[in-house]
């Protein structure tokens, strides 16, 4: 198996350079592009394992690029977006991006997100059967959950929520995505159902539900299940 290929799209040459160096050093094969047009062309021409996309490109709105790419590819996309533009991040995530990293960023955080994205892709291709970490063990086919050493009984909706988060373990999942996945539709009159369900799930799987360490809130965006090493089959 060759090195995984990453496409980095950013209009800032210094960022491209730094990422190129860093990703190479981490063992990835890197291609860069500085406009959306270039990115689209490059994607079509070659096969990539992940795309890192800056949302502030000059020629095309990042969300539009994601939408058009999603029509023919399910390549994992990590977006780079400035702080406090939650609206922009949500749109990108709902359009099909898998995760986001705030700018300015530390390379460590980006590499971690990258690893998660690649792992999830691999898991999905291989079929995810469960999750194992020090605090949480889940057997998906058997619908068995053990949290902090104790088996917990989840309601169907709680299990659906946990399963959705597991399929994205380590990545952020927007509220819309969770609503669609658990309730079938993101149109809901009661905007509080998700919050309440998350609270209930935390009660069961967290050591201290008020200071969650597994099921984390991303304010204004959604929730993230903290990633552990093994995604395990």
């Amino acid at each position: 198996m060759g090195a995984e290929t990453i496409l980095v799209v950013d209009d800032e040459p210094q960022i491209l350079k730094a990422l190129h160096v860093s990703l190479r050093a981490a063992g990835y094969s890197v291609t860069t592009a500085s406009t959306a047009g270039e990115a689209a062309e490059t994607l079509r021409a070659g096969a990539f394992d992940t795309m890192i996309l800056d949302l502030g490109l000059p020629d095309l709105d990042g969300k539009e690029l994601i939408t058009s790419v999603r029509q023919w590819s399910d390549i994992p996309i990590i977006v780079l977006s400035a702080r406090h533009l939650e609206g922009e991040k949500i749109l990108a995530l709902d359009a099909g991006a898998n995760d986001y990293v705030g700018k300015p960023f530390g390379v460590g955080e980006l590499l971690a997100r990258l690893r998660v994205a690649l792992r999830l892709r691999h898991n999905r291709d291989a079929g995810l059967r469960g999750y194992r970490s020090a605090e949480l063990t889940v057997d998906l086919p058997a619908r068995r959950v053990v949290a902090h050493g104790k088996e917990v009984r989840l309601t169907p909706k709680e299990f659906d929520l946990l399963r959705t988060l597991l399929h994205h373990a380590g990545q952020v999942v927007t509220r819309n995505q969770l609503l669609r996945s658990v309730w079938g539709s993101s149109e809901t009159r009661d905007s509080q159902v998700l919050r309440v369900l998350v609270g209930q799930l935390r009660q069961k799987i967290e050591l201290d539900p008020r200071v969650p360490t597994l099921l984390l809130t991303e304010p204004g965006i959604g929730y993230r299940l903290r990633a552990e090493m093994e995604g395990g089959t």
Binding site: R83, H84, E86, P104, G106, S191, Q192, R195, V196, G199, R210, V211, P212, L216, T217, E218, P219, G220
Partner: protein, 526 residues
């Protein structure tokens, strides 16, 4: 309202209202009354004819004359006197039904009747006049008090002009236009109608006002203009310092009658001028204050940018150039330290830029809030997570006194901004806490409010500065303490207040140390 306007009497205050008073306002009534009173006296005299000597019966007629005088004045009294004499002579005295003039006694009778009429009538009339004029004065005084109070409470020019116009219009019952000075000329500021004519000053009135304004020489002197059945008068007003405006009165009566109200209008204009002067001074004072505050902010901003950018930049430049120039001679450990410094300084600039942007957005009101039911505890966890393991200080969390345990503590807030506000306070607390100390975060909730309290074990804040810590760019006066950007708490307060909450500082907490920041938000049902 009709006035009792008889030839020799000029009363200014209209009589009181009511059906009885209406009857009394009929102009011919006093003379009818003379007839009536004499008729009644005659009837009485006729009845008592047998019991009282004739000459004494004249007293009854005298009484009628007296009543006429007191009730209706001298003229009615004279008419009564003549009628009484005739009636007495013809109908009462022998021979009855014939008029016989006995020189001495009749002359005496007539003289007495007339004398009583003249004297009493005059006196009574004067007394009544005085009473009426005092009542009028009292009413005027009350009105002036009211006007003065109304003018004292208003502070805005437009409002003051309206009050002035209303008051003068009420006092005179006519249409009043108040023009206020704008630049070199004047413009209509307010109108109060006596008869409901158009609100916009007609060209005629505006022209008259402008002519009067340009020829104004002293307050109180008035110009006048008559034409097309009405009179316009202009009353300029102002203080010693500057002329302020012009009041135009449009009335249907003749100029001399207008003059009666001059003193009242003059007083009202004086009061108006004083109030306007005060309003102008308040405006100027506010402007000066706002200007001074902007100056202070600008200076503080420049000084902050200069310091808080340059300092980390100097560090970055120094570390990076050292590595570039002398890379070979620097030990790997030391080199790594320099690189860590570069990262830390860059993160510091990043935080500073974020704070500046937040502050600018708050100042210019461009913060976009998306309010939704937000779990306070959840946001505290999210903010706390941002600190990771880079701090040696422990973060103790306790949830105290929840009114309904098991229920989440929800407030109407923008989750991102609430988390940011909490983060700012935590950042501050971490900065000022001594190493190995604890920063305690607690939530106190009752049915109406949720209060987040973040307490540190740092040096505390002197009482005089408890409010000032929330000023922009404020830093503790003690230079030995670590220096933050001075924006964190100010932004926190700005964000929380924009969500309808409050933020305050309490210090010291124990043994003269420690600070607690209290964030209070209104709780909503889950």
């Amino acid at each position: 309202m009709p006035r009792m306007d008889k030839t020799a009497w000029r009363l200014h205050a209209p009589p009181s209202t009511g059906p009885v008073a209406v009857i009394f306002q009929l102009a011919a009534w006093p003379y009818l009354w003379s007839f009536a009173s004499v008729a009644v006296a005659t009837a009485l005299a006729w009845l008592l004819r047998g019991y009282i000597v004739d000459e004494s019966l004249s007293m009854i007629f005298l009484t009628a004359v007296l009543i006429s005088c007191v009730a209706h004045g001298r003229n009615a009294g004279i008419l009564s006197a003549l009628l009484a004499f005739l009636s007495y002579n013809v109908l009462v005295l022998e021979p009855r039904f014939s008029f016989r003039f006995a020189p001495l006694s009749d002359t005496l009778t007539l003289a007495v009747f007339l004398g009583v009429a003249l004297l009493t009538g005059g006196l009574a009339g004067r007394v009544r006049d005085q009473a009426k004029s005092m009542a009028a004065r009292a009413a005027t005084m009350t009105k002036l008090f009211g006007a003065s109070r109304a003018l004292a409470t208003a502070v805005e020019r437009g409002e003051l002009a309206k009050i002035l116009a209303d008051q003068v219009s009420q006092a005179t019952g006519e249409s009043i236009y108040v023009f206020l000075r704008t630049g070199e000329g004047i413009s209509l500021a307010s109108y109060a109608g006596g008869s409901g004519t158009a609100e916009i000053a007609s060209d005629e009135i505006a022209g008259f006002a402008e002519r009067a304004w340009s020829s104004v020489n002293s307050s109180g002197a008035r110009a006048a203009y008559s034409g097309s059945g009405r009179t316009l008068s202009a009353y300029p007003f102002g203080t010693l310092r500057r002329p302020m405006g012009l009041l135009v009165r449009e009335s249907a009566t003749v100029e001399q009658q207008q003059a009666m109200d001059d003193p009242i209008i003059a007083v009202l204009c004086e009061l108006g001028a004083i109030a306007l002067d005060r309003a102008l001074l308040i405006e100027e004072m506010t402007e000066t204050r706002v200007h001074a505050e902007s100056e202070r902010l600008r200076t503080a901003l420049l000084s902050s940018i200069s310091h808080d950018f340059r300092t980390p930049l100097s560090g970055i430049l120094a570390s990076s150039t050292a590595l570039i120039e002398q890379g070979g001679s620097i030990a790997p450990e030391a080199a790594r330290d320099l690189l860590i410094d570069i990262r830390d300084q860059a993160e510091r600039i990043n935080r500073y830029v974020a704070n500046l942007l937040d502050m600018i957005k708050l100042e210019s009101g461009t913060i976009s809030m998306r309010l939704e039911p937000t779990d306070v505890v959840d946001m505290i966890s999210a903010a706390g997570r941002r600190f990771g393991h880079t701090n040696t200080k422990a973060m103790a969390r306790s949830w105290l006194a929840q009114a309904l345990p098991g229920e989440s503590c929800l407030v109407e807030a923008d989750p991102v901004l609430l988390e940011q506000a909490i983060y700012n306070v935590l950042d501050n607390a971490m900065l000022y806490s001594p190493p190995e100390s604890t920063v305690e975060i607690s939530v106190h909730a009752n049915l109406q409010t949720a209060e987040i309290v973040i307490a540190d074990e740092g040096p505390g804040i002197p009482e005089a500065e408890l409010e000032r810590v929330f000023d922009k760019f404020y830093r503790l006066s003690d230079r030995n303490q670590p220096q933050g950007t001075g924006l964190g708490l100010s932004i926190c307060r700005g964000l929380i207040e924009a969500m309808g909450g409050t933020v305050r500082a309490v210090s010291p907490l124990k043994d003269g140390h420690g600070t607690a920041i209290h964030i209070c938000l209104k709780r909503i049902a889950g």
